[in-house]
């Protein structure tokens, strides 16, 4: 077995620094995205309710206006 290499401390330090920076970056971006996604979901929920309301009214109007004797 080859003896272990003496890794330069600069490389070791930058490895762990990159690891911690990555953890911080990932967790902060996750927090930011969950917040913005909650807001988008709220807006979409409201729009969906309005749209369903309009569709329901349109359907009732269409059902009232069709001329069939089979009612």
């Amino acid at each position: 077995m080859a003896p272990p290499v003496a890794v330069s401390p600069l490389i070791k330090f930058s490895r762990y620094a990159a690891l911690f920076v990555g953890i911080a970056y990932g967790s902060r971006k996750n927090a930011r995205l969950t917040v913005s996604e909650a807001e988008v979901r709220k807006i979409e929920e409201k729009q969906k309710k309005e749209r369903e309301e309009r569709e329901r009214i349109a359907k009732e109007l269409a059902a009232a206006n069709e001329d069939t004797i089979l009612k």
Partner: protein, 107 residues
């Protein structure tokens, strides 16, 4: 169907421990070699090595300034590229850990 389930359960209880023991015995020497190298190469730098860190950093800057980087061989250049790529991979692994999801952000 019930017989199949019963066979599976008996196989699990009889062969399960044997398989686990074989797995442990297989992995022990490999874990030992991993630990043998990791103890020296993967350990985070101790505070005693901080002056060496600053010295290495200033060496980098000096090499960039004086143009010594133009004298590097291709072999050295490839090795440096692989080292920098490894540092980049540690960043991405950190991001995976930070967002607590393997592939994307689970929003």
């Amino acid at each position: 169907m019930a017989a199949l389930a019963q066979r599976m359960v008996t196989a699990l209880t009889t062969k399960g421990p044997v398989l686990a023991k074989n797995a442990v015995e297989f992995s022990k020497p490999r874990l030992q070699t991993f630990w043998y190298y990791a103890k020296v190469e993967m350990v985070p730098p101790t505070p005693a090595e901080i002056p060496k860190i600053t010295e290495g950093f200033s060496n980098l800057i000096k090499a960039a300034r004086t143009g010594a980087w133009m004298q590097t061989t291709v072999r050295e250049g490839v090795r440096n590229t692989v080292v920098v790529a490894e540092i980049g991979f540690w960043f991405f692994i950190g991001e995976i850990i930070g967002r607590r999801s393997l592939i994307g952000y689970n929003v």
